[in-house]
């Protein structure tokens, strides 16, 4: 099964999503903010899929970035720059149409809107099986 990274700062969701991911047999690591992502950028290649929340606080490194971009969008750019083919699942409570980045234009990127259904099935089904 897949080695999944969940980037999410909503503590009410982290445990639940981790539970569902692990139920499916995947392993799940969690970064609770952008600082961890940036500090571990070189290590992200080991994950089969990255689940990235869009609306998070900026953390230490992204404070001077373009305010029109959400934190998740900035992280997406950095991860994509380094890992252009990385499978990514973008989750957000904000409408994707209101964002600066058109995620649908990127290969191997899926968007999932919050709220999730009872088993977060939209999210789980896009995780690579192997």
């Amino acid at each position: 099964m897949s080695n999944v990274l969940l980037i999410e700062d909503d503590r009410f969701l982290i445990d639940d999503l981790t539970t569902f991911i692990e139920y499916e047999g995947h392993t799940c690591s969690v970064y609770t903010g952008p600082d961890e992502v940036i500090e571990n950028l070189d290590a992200l290649g080991k994950f089969d899929a990255i689940i990235l929340d869009i609306m998070m606080t900026r953390g230490r490194y992204l404070q001077d970035e373009d305010p029109n971009f959400e934190t998740g969008e900035l992280l997406f750019q950095r991860i994509r720059e380094k890992y252009p083919n990385q499978a990514m699942l973008i989750i957000s409570a904000k409408n994707f149409a209101d964002m600066q980045i058109d995620f649908t234009a990127h290969k191997n990127v899926f968007t999932i809107s919050k709220p999730f259904d009872s088993t977060a099935s939209e999210l789980i089904k896009h995780l690579p099986k192997e």
Binding site: D10, F20, P115, A120
Partner: protein
């Protein structure tokens, strides 16, 4: 009038030819076959004509000193329309009857020629492409050999005759129907025409013996006109058919004049449509004032509009010698004043004066700059659908005579046209007002929609996490409980899920209340409230667990100053405001882990109670203080740190507090950042 031609038969020296018109013989000049208006009564010459021959002495006596009869005797030959006097000299002696017959034929020919020439001259004048009404009347007067004329037009709106054109200087250009004037006779039923001896007292008419007067029906509305033709000759009466001919001609001409005026008005009206742009009424009225001044040939035009309360009239456009539309200064009439312009508005009736010096001697109010002193005036209400929006007034009507501007008087057409124009203008003003109102409503609606849309965005964002929690938790609990080994760890997991559901449930309920837009906007249920029980605890009880889990932040309540304190307000609204402050404090206390503090005390002699919410998170910059409560305002540091939000919360909270007779204040910018919720401690009117 055409200058009289010199007239004495110089060509043959021995014969005189006269054209008979009505009961007079007019001497024809030899070269042009015109007449110098030397006329001789047919009655006075009847004996001579009957005698067939006459001596020069008798002729001189009959024709007066103006004609020299050189020969001793003359033969007199008269036909239906001519009179020939021919000397009985050698030629007549030589050729006898034959010469007389030739001379008579020649005389008839000259009279016929005279008639043809004068008729042709008349036709040329009548059909000249640019002939004025004055030239028209002048042509008829000349054709029928009258010495003077005048045309007066009755204004049914004002009951005044105004002189449209006249061959002589009038001492007064308008005559009221109230005055003692022979003109008023035409107003009587059945009056058509009259011919009588002239007895009017004007010096210029002192030599006039006969007046022919006829009533005219002018224009489509049958405006009454009075044409008077004056003659120095006694009983110089027009035949009925000639009266009819003149009447038909003038009435037709007047229709043409009116049509031209109507077309000019149509052009002005057309400009209404072309020049009017909704939302730019001022500039439009400037151009209308200018157009009206020019089209109506007045020295000034001003437009006044009433305020919404109809308490005053404000000058909005003026065109005169000094300005071209934009008023040189502001001017306001109070509508409680008894001044002509204000009266027009109040009565919704047109008003006028033909003599401002007498009618408005004080000349109070706004005075345009005109070439002549204030002389005449029309004020017209701007009426649309029974509502009066203002007053348009014109002053000092003029005509251009020989390149010079002379004051004249308003005609019926001016009233009719002005009424029509003002009606159109009022309709446009009405449209403009509706446009303004619609635009304001649209703006308000858009603001509401925008506000609701922002609300919706925030609302959707806020409820998505709780919904996810609700949807996923049951499945997690089910799966956990269905495990064969129900360990303590698994049980704890279930309890944790239930705790989360409770926290999220409370939060969701609170969010739903907060984002009930209608309630926020319309609800007002003021009552006496306990600060702790009704405002602080309901919020803290719900939010504390959420803040602890989400941000690792607690709330430190200094309850000492809050015990038994009462305030006056709407519980739900105050909960919304307080929750906004706590929620913001949680979000902005990013990574500090320092608790949010809540304290309170009475303020201002006990009239208000201050609830202070402080946090040690992101500071607020001094330059953000002013705009912090503006709708959509986001702090620089909030954006910098990517703290989600729309800038609605504080704006809404501030509005709620102001409408609740309280206040929301930023009382400290950093370490801590403090907001003070100032709530009335007592109902309004019971303050100390």
């Amino acid at each position: 009038m055409a200058a009289p031609t010199c007239g004495h038969n110089d060509l043959t020296m021995d014969s005189f030819v006269f054209a008979k018109t009505r009961n007079y013989y007019f001497l024809l000049s030899d070269e042009t076959d015109s007449t110098d208006r030397r006329a001789f009564s047919a009655a006075s010459l009847a004996t001579l004509i009957g005698a067939k021959q006459c001596g020069s002495q008798e002729l001189s006596e009959a024709f007066g000193p103006g004609i020299m009869f050189a020969d001793s005797r003359y033969t007199i030959e008269a036909g239906d329309d001519y009179l020939l006097l021919i000397a009985r000299n050698k030629r007549l002696s030589l050729f006898g009857r034959r010469w007389l017959s030739v001379a008579a034929t020649e005389a008839k020919q000259r009279v016929t020629n005279f008639k043809l020439v004068t008729r042709e001259r008349l036709i040329n004048k009548l059909y000249a492409s640019q002939s004025s009404l004055r030239e028209y009347v002048d042509a008829w007067a000349e054709y029928f050999l009258f010495d003077h004329y005048s045309l007066w037009i009755y204004n049914k709106y004002t009951g005044v005759f105004t002189c449209s054109t006249s061959s002589f200087e009038q001492t007064k250009n308008y005559i009221s129907e109230q005055e003692n004037s022979s003109l008023n006779a035409v107003l009587e039923d059945g009056y058509v025409t009259e011919s009588r001896a002239h007895s009017d007292g004007l010096d210029v008419l002192s030599g006039m013996k006969t007046i022919n007067r006829m009533k005219l029906s002018l224009g489509y509305d049958g405006t009454i006109g009075v044409l008077s033709l004056y003659s120095k000759l006694d009983h110089f009466e027009l035949e009925a058919r000639h009266c009819e001919e003149i009447r038909n001609s003038l009435e037709t001409k007047y229709l043409q004049v009116r049509q031209q005026a109507y077309q000019a008005l149509q052009r002005v009206n057309q400009q209404f449509i072309e020049k009017y742009t909704a939302g730019e009424l001022d500039r439009f009225l400037f151009s209308i004032a200018s157009e009206v001044r020019e089209s109506f040939q007045t020295e000034a035009c001003s437009i006044f509009l009433a305020d919404r309360q109809a308490s005053k009239l404000e000058l909005v456009a003026s065109c005169d010698n000094q300005c071209e539309g934009e008023p040189p200064s502001s001017y306001v009439y109070s509508l409680s004043e008894e001044l002509p312009t204000a009266n027009v508005f109040n009565s919704k009736q047109m008003a006028f004066s033909y003599n401002l010096e007498a009618d408005d001697s004080q000349n109070d109010g706004y005075n345009e700059s005109t070439e002549h002193p204030p002389t005449n005036w029309i004020g017209a209400p701007l009426l649309s659908a029974g509502e009066c929006f203002g007053v348009l007034r014109i002053r000092n009507k003029y005509v251009v005579e020989d390149g010079k501007q002379e004051i004249t008087y308003f005609r019926t057409a001016d009233f009719v046209n002005l009424f029509s124009l003002c009606s159109n203008l009022a309709n446009l003003i009405r449209i403009e007002i509706l446009f303004d109102e619609t635009e304001a409503r649209l703006k308000e609606t858009n603001a509401n929609i925008s506000e609701m849309s922002d609300f919706n965005k925030v609302f959707l964002h806020e409820i998505r996490t709780p919904i996810s929690k609700f949807t996923m938790a049951p499945e997690i609990i089910k799966r956990t409980l269905s495990k064969k080994d129900l360990t303590e760890e698994n049980l704890e997991k279930v309890v944790k899920q239930l705790d989360d559901i409770q926290v999220m449930g409370d939060r969701l309920e609170f969010i739903a209340k907060t984002f009930n837009f209608n309630q926020i906007v319309t609800r007002r249920n003021f009552e006496t409230l306990s600060v702790l029980r009704d405002i602080i605890y309901p919020v803290i009880n719900i939010t504390r667990a959420y803040l602890r889990k989400q941000y690792d932040i607690d709330i430190q309540l200094d309850a000492a100053g809050l015990q038994s304190c009462r305030v006056y307000g709407d519980k739900t609204l105050l909960n919304i405001v307080f929750n906004t402050l706590i929620d913001n404090a949680g979000k902005y206390s990013i990574d500090t882990r320092r608790p949010i503090s809540v304290s309170g005390q009475y303020h201002d002699s006990g009239d208000f109670f201050d609830i202070v919410v402080s946090n040690y998170g992101l500071a607020i910059h001094e330059d953000e203080r002013e705009k912090l409560f503006a709708n959509g305002a986001r702090g620089q540091d909030a954006l910098k740190h990517g703290i989600s939000g729309t800038g609605i919360g504080l704006h809404l909270a501030k509005r709620i507090m102001i409408e609740s007779n309280g206040e929301l204040l930023l009382t400290s910018l950093k370490d801590p950042v403090s907001f003070t919720l100032r709530v009335p401690a007592k109902p309004r009117g019971q303050e100390t």
